[in-house]
């Protein structure tokens, strides 16, 4: 993939910091003002403003016709978004928790993702499917999954995973304008919701104007020369925390935030590994057949890839459903300490 131009707006001056949810909402509101064909459908998105504040405040400006509460019937309304998109509109449909995907998965996997291909390119599906992902507050196995790999695995959908407010806004502008179906997965812990405290990291300065962040452009969130940590979503912040701690021991960690899984910016990852020689991939999704394996394979497949790779470590949720009780959830969801250990292991420190 060609190296994409990196965030032209990033250098813009701004003193204004937003939570990730505010930044997402700002992009949605902007696109809705600019284009009457954009509308938002989901459960509790209107009067409630989204359980995770994903539509907070939009009802007041746009009303129930464009911020639509729908019955609990994911098959019907996600499929309706596909149909409306094929009719030329630009719907955004919210699947409240990604775990509920099974209920509407045929419409996602067999319609939304495949209609462009099956029609020989004569049909396009310009819609966004948003979904909350992630655990870390003990909601057990049906409400805590991350499932990046599930959505990135089947061809036909672009998959976006922001980790900061700045990225969330730019990526949302892109997602709505894109002529293809986009799955936009936001981590609950990053949104800045009243009842679920977020770490400081995701709240960043955000320009008031619109801007886009090209899909397929990973972001080096921290430069370093010893070990490359590739991750996304919440775990960008856990990796940065680990990097700070390791820096005290003189270990210089580079943190690469993928930002989108489809398309995947393998160039940035390979360049970083060529520099450091050591790769640690961190993911809050299940370990097997997922993001960690894919990244390692992409690096290994590159020209000189295996020669560059001195060490590889994977940190992911072991192949168990997310448990409820705290000691067990803490055990399976990677934390900064797990990342620190993996970095040390990659260096052969243990």
């Amino acid at each position: 993939m060609a190296q994409q131009e990196k965030d032209p707006a990033k250098e813009r001056q701004t003193d204004r910091s937003l939570t990730m949810s505010r930044a997402m909402v700002e992009a949605i509101a902007h696109e809705m003002r600019a284009d009457d064909d954009v509308f938002y459908m989901g459960e509790d998105v209107a009067d409630y403003g989204g359980i995770f504040d994903s539509t907070e405040g939009l009802l007041e400006e746009f009303g129930h016709d464009r911020i639509m509460d729908v019955p609990i019937s994911e098959t019907a309304y996600i499929g309706a978004a596909v149909g409306a998109a094929q009719a030329g509109m630009r719907p955004i449909a919210e699947l409240m928790f990604v775990d509920f995907f099974g209920v509407g998965m045929d419409q996602i996997y067999n319609q939304m993702a495949k209609n462009t291909y099956m029609s020989g390119g004569s049909v396009s599906v310009p819609m966004v499917l948003t979904a909350a992902v992630g655990g870390t507050y003990n909601d057990a196995a049906q409400h805590s999954q991350t499932l990046y790999g599930t959505f990135a695995h089947l061809p036909g959908m672009k998959v976006v995973v922001p980790s900061t407010a700045y990225d969330a806004k730019g990526l949302m502008h892109n997602a709505i304008r894109d002529d293809d179906p986009v799955v936009y997965m936001f981590h609950k812990r990053l949104m800045g919701i009243g009842w679920l405290p977020a770490p400081d990291g995701p709240k960043t300065p955000v320009p008031e104007d619109e801007y886009t962040i090209p899909f397929g452009s990973a972001d080096v969130k921290r430069e370093g020369s010893d070990v490359t940590v590739v991750t996304l979503g919440l775990h960008v912040h856990r990796a940065l925390e680990a990097a700070d701690e390791l820096a005290d021991d003189g270990i210089d960690v580079e943190v690469v935030d993928l930002r989108t899984l489809v398309p995947l910016d393998t160039d940035t990852v390979r360049d970083s590994v060529a520099k450091t020689g050591r790769l640690v991939v961190v993911d809050e999704d299940y370990r097997s057949f997922g993001v960690t394996g894919e990244i390692v394979a992409q690096v290994a497949e590159a020209e000189d890839g295996l020669a560059d790779l001195e060490a590889v470590e994977r940190v992911a949720v072991p192949d168990v459903p997310l448990p409820y009780a705290r000691p067990m959830e803490n055990e399976v969801v990677p934390d900064a300490e797990d990342i620190t250990d993996a970095v040390r292991a990659a260096r052969g420190d243990e």
Partner: protein
Amino acid sequence: MYEAMVTARRYEERLQEEYLEGKQPAFDISAGPIPGELHLAAGHEASGAGVCQHLRDDDTVTAPHRPHHIAVAKGVDLKRMTAEIFGRETGLSKGKGGHMHLFDPDVNFACSGIIAEGCPPAVGAGLAAKKRNTDSVAVAFLGEGAIDQGAFLESLNLAAVQDLPVVFVVEDNDWAISMPKDRVTDVENGARRADGFDMPGTRVDADDAVAVYEAAREAIGRARDRNGPSLLEVQVHRRMGHFMGDPQAYRSDEDKAAAQQRDSIDRLESDLRAHGVDDETIDELRSSAKERVEEAIEWAKEQPEPEPADAHEDVFTNPPSGVTDGEPNVAKTETGGDD
């Protein structure tokens, strides 16, 4: 029935107190002794008690995300259920399931937190009863917000065409999180959904436990006598937010107040008095319910937390070698867990 109702109410009052501990003053869902979300059923008691009165241990019940009143009425082990909600090792699911995922095979009780997804397994239990020629029945509980879901409608159809001993109980509390009933359905009487499947549908229009009891007797009796499935919709009320911490900004004060006023427990109590039950008997029932609840909560709080490594067990009943004990997570096994 009254006892099941007051036990459920008291139980949830105590859970609420425990849940809020450590989460105040600024509500943080991940703090305090009870982890995760908590959906309380205050105002729903009449349906759980009125229906489950007719059930035996070998009858199957599937409950949704708001399960406690149904579990209490079905006779789920109160102590182990409480330990589960507190995330303890001796909980019904060893701390793996939590309050939305309670399983008690001894009384054939199960839960699912995904809307309407308890309906197909209830149909399956009905199918097993039919195939094995027993007279046990299955009851699927769901909210009125769940009646648009494919899993519910497909289950009605399958149960109908196969003549299965299943009763679908819709608890209509007027709200699906922030969505009022009129925004999710154009059919005010949800029991009419049964017409499309050629099965009996009944709606009990007030929080009247006695009326629920009568209607459930009919429906469950029908199922037990192998006369096929039915649908029962019960008007209940949501006295609280959807989940603990829900600010309910979408709900008018009048609506909240109305839900408080129409209480099935008060109603049943005056019915009992009208039928000559004296204060002493009622007080006794209430205080024994309190005692049972207190005992369960105290017991649960004394139970140990699970070991972090327990997370790796129970993925399979018959684990393939190399899958358990955290083996796949290399970084973890090298450090021996992080707690």
